[in-house]
């Protein structure tokens, strides 16, 4: 049975599922995401977020790192990342590890 919808929180540890592939397309000179019957072209910031989605960093930690990289206020960055990841999660392009989900998601 399908699992329920995920709500992305600052504590979530997002990751790309194995079948969602983030690469750099040398021919086109741009990041590319390959997913089931879908191709997406993330911009530079989106690709930077996705590269940090390793399943161990929390959204809050990702926001802190990007705030340093782009010298921007962490609250704003976190709000943007939460919205972006919720959208990607709703399209089933992102998984999360929350504390109570770790064992389930990894099984």
């Amino acid at each position: 049975m399908r699992p329920e919808r995920i709500t992305i929180t600052p504590q979530c540890r997002p990751c790309l599922p194995r079948h969602v592939r983030l690469r750099f397309d040398d021919l086109r000179g741009t990041p590319i995401v390959l997913a089931p019957e879908k191709v997406l072209w993330p911009d530079e910031i989106s690709a930077a977020i996705l590269r940090l989605c390793d399943g161990t960093s929390s959204v809050a930690e990702i926001a802190a790192e990007l705030a340093r990289t782009y010298a921007a206020p962490v609250e704003e960055i976190e709000t943007d990342i939460l919205a972006f990841l919720q959208d990607w999660s709703d399209r089933l392009l992102i998984n999360v590890n929350t504390d109570h989900r770790v064992s389930k998601a990894r099984s």
Partner: protein, 360 residues
């Protein structure tokens, strides 16, 4: 004009198939196994395609798993950075084969269900036990960690089962459901008097799918291919002729869309006889309807010409006899009204390779 590289490729590895659906997207003139490309010929074409820019492939048929070299083909594509989708009727798949395909690099599997109920699946595909087999394959795919799409081709015989298809997809832990209303070319055109649902059923279906799709955000992605016979404007077929994808047939013919050979007067090339890049970039047939310069009126001055590209060239040819005409599913086509006039329904014609087929 600058020709952009292609991104996607649909590969019909074979026309052989254990099912006999009356809306099959293969041509009426089905080819036998002896005309199919050999493993090394496919591999050469796949490397050329990847070099040209193809990043995603749909391995289809017929039934692609009837090719015993499917693992080698998946592996070749995967090694060249091409994302592989397998489009299968699933009745010939085993648990072991799914595992070896996964190991070869398969990323995603799409399993067709002809009905959401056992009786319908058997009636439409004419294959006993198909429904249970498909359910088992779906479970094995999930067990192997493959993301699953359920493909539901919709027509008059199963349009009432759309809510059941949604329940089936949730039950089988699919992440995508394609509610794909049959497109009326080839076999489906031949059988259209049997298959085209009535207007009210289609409208009920549209309302239902739009509602349930919203309810299931974050759980199930529902892709909805609407039936263009009841639309006001045509669909943007293939995202435009030779815009970013192409098709390879079992004998290596390279086409801008899977039905392109139905258009009389266009000559296509085989990837075994001409470099794939050359066919994509400079062949007459690929350039014939590329972009918008070729368009006559009313498309030429239409504000939607960059939205739907004048619709489908194959449908335009099938109904008007002129492949450059406005797709009759458009309200601006003089033949729009005639689109829904159906011939008398005779006996439904099931696809079969051995049977001689009357040309339409």
């Amino acid at each position: 004009m600058t020709v952009q590289p292609p991104l996607g490729m649909l590969v019909e590895l074979t026309h052989r198939c254990p099912l006999q659906c009356g809306y099959c997207s293969n041509p009426l003139d089905l080819m036998k196994a002896d005309r199919e490309l050999a493993t090394s010929q496919w591999q050469t074409a796949f490397v050329e395609a990847a070099d040209l820019g193809v990043r995603q492939v749909h391995l289809s048929g017929g039934e692609p798993t009837l090719r015993r070299d499917l693992e080698a083909l998946v592996s070749c594509l995967s090694d060249h950075g091409v994302y592989t989708n397998l489009i299968t009727a699933a009745v010939t798949l085993t648990r072991d084969r799914i595992a070896t395909l996964r190991e070869a690099g398969l990323e995603h599997i799409q399993v067709s269900f002809q009905g959401a109920r056992r009786e319908t699946t058997e009636l439409v595909g004419r294959y006993r036990g198909a429904h249970e087999k498909k359910r088992a394959v779906a479970a094995w795919a999930r067990e192997a960690g493959l993301p699953l799409t359920i493909n539901a081709p919709i027509h008059r015989l199963n349009i009432g089962e759309v809510p059941n298809f949604v329940a089936l997809a949730l039950e089988l832990d699919a992440e995508r459901l394609e509610i794909a209303n049959v497109q009326y070319y080839g076999w489906a055109y031949l059988n259209r008097a049997h298959l085209l649902p009535d207007y009210d059923s289609v409208m009920r279906q549209v309302d239902y799918v739009e509602r349930v799709r919203e309810d299931l955000v974050g759980r199930l992605n529902i892709d909805f291919v609407t039936p263009d016979y009841y639309a006001d404007y045509p669909k943007p077929c293939m995202g435009g002729w030779a815009a970013d994808a192409f098709v390879l047939t079992p004998d290596g013919m390279m086409l801008p869309c899977h039905a392109a050979q139905t258009i009389a007067g266009l000559d296509f090339d085989r990837v075994t006889e001409r470099p794939l890049r050359e066919i994509w970039e400079i062949s007459d047939s690929f350039n014939r309807f590329r972009d918008t310069e070729w368009m006559p009126e009313p498309c030429r001055s239409c504000a939607r010409k960059d939205v739907d590209f004048g619709g489908c060239r194959c449908q335009a040819f099938a109904i008007t006899g002129d492949a450059a005409a406005t797709d009759p599913s458009c309200i601006h086509s003089p033949l729009h009204g005639a689109l829904r006039q159906m011939p008398e329904p005779g006996e439904i014609r099931h696809r079969a390779i051995t049977r001689a087929v009357e040309k339409i």
